[in-house]
């Protein structure tokens, strides 16, 4: 138990972030790719491995911390944001990642997600959205489409689904993004952006559950159709999509419209993507563009700065200390009227 002087920071590689635990998702599950990108990203961040913590709830997705060779906490269903909040407040020096699912984060854990986001606690939240409860073997989730037939909805789900990104924006999120399990470059780039954002970074990843909800996103996420049916949001650029890059999005009032470029319509007519708009309205409009009505926007929807909860808390402590001095415990004991019995 002798502590040794730390070596100069070693250069880490992906393998340093692979734990010795055998990965136990179903073969073909989208979770593998998200894990791989996460492991690949870690060395890029330049954060010592021991300062990284992955915290999850319960669900297939929430097994991820076991596979990361960092500190990890596989907690209870829906509560990962609360544990992350406590940890961040106690240990603002750590880089904290919350792994959650559409059930874990939006069903049982909806309230905690709302509150961690509105407080802007400085953590990254990755929500694996497979639109199903995987671990409990195929019941519908809050992101399942209305009408979906599952074990618990044999006649079709009658709940109206939650849009995870709209929800996050509504909660006042300072960073909101979406990516796709199989679009590995986009995914790692998105996670990297999230890692560098100060405040709560909320990333939804569309993830295929090939056992209970296979092909949930295939209609627009399949490589062949992806350019035509999704949008890759790029900061400062007009929103253009399509294999031929010949279509774009224009705002008609507050309604997005798909337009063909040419014939009098040019890039200057298009909506220019700006993640940093102080107002969340445009980001919100983008989150509500859904296939097949619209191509599905992917990337960073919103990225703005706002003081984090943990900073503000530290600030108050410093302020109190500088104003009132370090606390004197014995003086505190003796506060108020005292008397002596001898």
């Amino acid at each position: 138990m002798t502590s040794v002087a730390p070596d100069p920071l070693p250069v880490l590689a992906r393998k340093d972030f692979v734990s010795d635990q055998e990965v136990r998702w179903c073969p073909g599950c989208g979770d593998y790719s998200i894990l791989a990108q996460t492991q690949k990203l870690m060395p890029e961040l330049g954060i010592p491995r021991e300062n990284i913590v992955f915290i999850s709830g319960i669900g297939c997705n929430s097994r991820l911390p076991y596979y990361m060779n960092t500190y990890g906490f596989h907690s209870i269903h829906g509560r990962a944001p609360t544990i992350a909040t406590g940890l961040k407040l106690a240990r603002p020096d750590l880089s904290i990642w919350v792994i959650t699912g559409d059930g874990d984060g939006l069903s049982i854990g909806g309230n905690h997600l709302l509150h961690i986001i509105r407080r802007n606690v400085d953590v990254v939240i990755v929500l694996f959205n497979n639109r199903i409860y995987g671990l409990t073997k195929g019941q519908y989730s809050p992101t399942s489409e209305q009408g979906k037939i599952t074990k618990t909805s044999p006649l079709g789900a009658i709940d109206y689904p939650i849009n995870a990104l709209s929800f996050a924006l509504g909660a006042g999120a300072t960073f909101v993004a979406r990516s796709l399990d199989i679009d590995v470059h986009h995914l790692i780039a998105t996670l990297e952006r999230a890692a560098h954002h100060k405040g709560t970074s909320f990333v939804e990843v569309y993830q295929n559950c090939n056992v209970f909800n296979d092909g949930a996103f295939i209609e627009f996420a399949d490589k062949a159709v992806r350019p035509d049916r999704t949008i890759s949001l790029e900061q400062g650029k007009p929103i253009i999509f399509g294999k031929e890059q010949n279509r774009g999005i224009r705002l008609n009032g507050t309604t997005p419209e798909i337009v063909e470029l040419g014939n009098g319509v040019d890039e200057s007519d298009l909506l220019v993507h700006d993640e940093s708009r102080p107002d969340r309205t445009v980001a919100s409009i983008l989150t509500r563009m859904e296939y097949p009505e619209y191509p599905v926007p992917m990337g960073v929807f919103r990225a703005v700065e706002r003081p984090t909860y943990n900073e503000l808390l530290e600030g108050q402590i410093e302020e109190a200390r500088s104003r009132e001095g370090e606390g004197d415990l014995e003086a505190l004991f003796a506060q108020g009227d005292t008397w002596v019995v001898d």
């Binding site: 491995r49 609360t82 402590i317 415990l329 009227d337």
Partner: protein
């Protein structure tokens, strides 16, 4: 116990006064000033506030009555008194709700001005109780407090409303005269409290003196009283409520353990004070977090504990229910969180401002699976300080979630507290491993079965924990049947072995005899007082009070075995009793009051006499 002296001054050993009035009448302030003055004077004191459940019920209404009881004495006392000797009733509603508690023959000081038709109706009095024989059993002193106060302040420049608001000071003045208290501390306090509003400070001073002088001049009181200084252990004292002591205790524990404290809580009566108190201590580095609910609060405490800090959360019964699942997680991950439960009357929302000891079995068993935790329970307001430190010591030394069972009576009641010196408090070492070579997340200490508290930020100790069953030593997920059996047993034995690390149970009185009165928590005062009285009448009875409820002190079985009978008074239907019966197969008898009120000395005494009838032995 009354001795007449030449000056029409009666000497008393102990007096209990209750100030009762409308919520707006400032009864809590009057009571507190009386308490502080008495404590400064050298009496022992003990107090109990009684707030209405409503924030501000309609003026003059029955649910709007607010009361404050203070007992002061020339000897050591442990309770705010079973029943007041003096009741100050500022209006008919206050009289109606509090009269049943007044001792027969007790003194009743009423603000006669307020017994008008409107107020009588609001209090549902058909006839004016001040007329007729209704109050014949008491010594009734009618004082037109409202008008005398108004007269005293007619030149104060204050509005009639403002003037009325200092009626409590007039009443307090009368009480000060009646019990020979000095006015200076209160006059001084007015100056401080109303520094920004000198006219109000002056008015309160004026009317306080007017009340005092009225006491002296008017011939309403046949005599006045003296309660001599108590012979208390020497030291510097202050008055402290249980919730204040709890906050200070955990703050101090953080200092002693050299670990930062995060207090995560969601407001709930009667635990909110602790959050409010700790929130003031930012300069000590304490972090407080008002969570969105109780589940989030305990989650945050668990997160903080995972990070190596002291993770503390606090609530009352319904909130403890909500924390159940997460406590189980802390059991499985063997993280040292502390959960404060300031109990209140249940079930469900129950009676939030009333007292009960209804959560012991919830604390023991309110989780799925075999899920043992440590439990401590302070015995008095001041003891909250000690047991808070003990809770942290146990949690961190034994890597076990620990429940601190306080209650509303402890939390808002107060007593004089000897201000400790930091040097007298033992600090306790809390270590975390750093050696990656030897580290195993679930390797256990051979003696205590405790696993190491490895903290993020430590290179080479990266590991994963969670709510799934762990493999012995490695902490990896395991579904192995025999491993599960072993881990269940470890968790259980780890808690049992805390018994080696806590003091033995001490018996107050002889170590054997006809009857042991065994208690826990806030019934301490009533039990001790009753047992002491019975002992001084020569009964073979002793008392013992459990401050450690899981595990029990290691000698508890021996203690029980040396008495013919065991009486367990509790403010529930017999929760400790059940545990004792199951564990020791002792036919313990219950004294169970579930009224929302604290236990009375008399209630315990009566039971003692029933159980040790005629058996009185002579005391050598």
């Amino acid at each position: 116990m009354t001795t007449k002296d030449e000056d029409e001054i009666q000497e008393l050993d102990r007096v209990t006064i209750r100030f009762a009035g409308d919520s707006g009448d400032g009864m809590q302030l009057a009571g507190l000033q009386f308490t502080n003055t008495s404590a400064l004077f050298g009496n022992d004191v003990s107090t109990m506030p009684d707030y209405p459940a409503e924030i501000r019920a309609p003026t003059g209404s029955l649910p709007g009555v607010s009361a404050f009881q203070v007992s002061f004495s020339s000897y050591e006392i442990y309770t705010p008194g079973d029943e007041p000797d003096v009741l100050v009733a500022m209006n008919p509603a206050a009289l109606k709700t509090n009269l049943p508690d007044l001792a027969k023959g007790g003194t009743l000081v009423v603000n006669a001005d307020e017994f008008n038709e409107t107020n009588l109706r609001k209090a549902a009095y058909e006839d004016n109780p001040l007329e007729g024989d209704q109050l014949a059993a008491y010594r009734v002193i009618k004082v037109p407090i409202t008008s005398m106060n108004a007269r005293a302040l007619k030149d104060s420049g204050l509005s009639p409303q403002q003037i009325d608001r200092s009626r409590n000071s007039f009443a307090l003045g009368i009480m000060f005269w009646l019990y020979e208290r000095p006015m200076e501390p209160t006059l001084h306090w007015f100056e401080e409290k109303f520094a920004k509003n000198p006219a109000v400070a002056k008015a309160n001073a004026t009317t306080l003196k007017a009340g005092y002088n009225f006491g002296e001049t008017a011939e309403l009181f046949p005599d006045h009283y003296r309660v001599r200084k108590a012979n208390l252990p020497p030291g510097r004292y202050r008055n402290i409520t249980g919730n204040q002591a709890t906050a200070l205790g955990f703050l101090t524990a953080s200092r002693l353990a050299k670990r930062p404290l995060l207090y995560a809580s969601y407001p709930i009566t009667p635990a909110s004070d602790i959050l409010e108190e700790l929130a003031k201590f930012k300069r000590f580095g304490v972090k407080t977090f008002q969570a969105e609910d109780e589940l989030a609060a305990i989650g945050a405490a668990i997160g903080a504990a995972f990070g190596g800090a002291l993770g503390l959360t606090g609530t009352s019964g319904p909130g403890l229910a909500l924390k159940s699942e997460a406590i189980g997680l802390a059991v499985m991950t063997e993280l040292p969180i502390v959960i404060i439960d300031v109990q209140r009357a249940g079930p469900s929302t129950g009676m939030p401002t009333k007292n009960e000891q209804g959560d012991l079995l919830q604390a023991m068993f309110g989780r799925n699976g075999e899920s043992p935790v440590a439990i401590v329970a302070p015995a008095t307001p001041g003891d909250c300080f000690n047991m808070a430190i003990e809770a942290i010591r146990i949690a961190t030394r034994h890597m076990v979630p620990t429940i601190f069972l306080s209650d509303g009576y402890l939390g808002s009641g107060s007593e004089p507290w000897i201000i400790p010196s930091l040097d007298d408090l033992e600090s306790f070492e809390v270590t975390s491993p750093t050696d990656a070579e030897t580290f195993e997340p679930y390797a256990r200490d051979k003696e205590t079965l405790v696993r190491p508290w490895a903290v993020p930020g430590t290179p080479g100790l990266e590991h994963r924990i969670g709510g799934l069953e762990k493999s012995d030593t490695t902490g990896l997920i395991s579904y192995d049947p025999e491993n599960h059996m072993r881990m269940v047993a470890y968790r259980q034995q780890k808690v049992e072995r805390i018994a080696d690390d806590i003091p033995e149970l001490t018996v107050l009185g002889k170590p054997e005899g006809a009857l042991l009165v065994l208690g826990w928590g806030s019934t301490y005062g009533a039990i001790i007082s009753a047992v002491q009285r019975a002992q001084s009448s020569g009964l073979s009875v002793s008392a013992a009070h459990l401050r450690y409820l899981n595990p029990f002190p290691r000698n508890l079985g021996d203690v029980l075995a040396r008495f013919d009978k065991v009486l367990i008074p509790e403010l529930n239907l017999g929760q400790l009793r059940m545990l004792i019966r199951a564990r020791f197969l002792v036919d313990a008898i219950g004294l169970n009051r579930v009224t929302g009120r604290p236990l009375k000395i008399r209630e315990v005494e009566e039971q003692i006499y029933k159980l040790v009838q005629q058996k009185a032995v002579s005391v050598a």
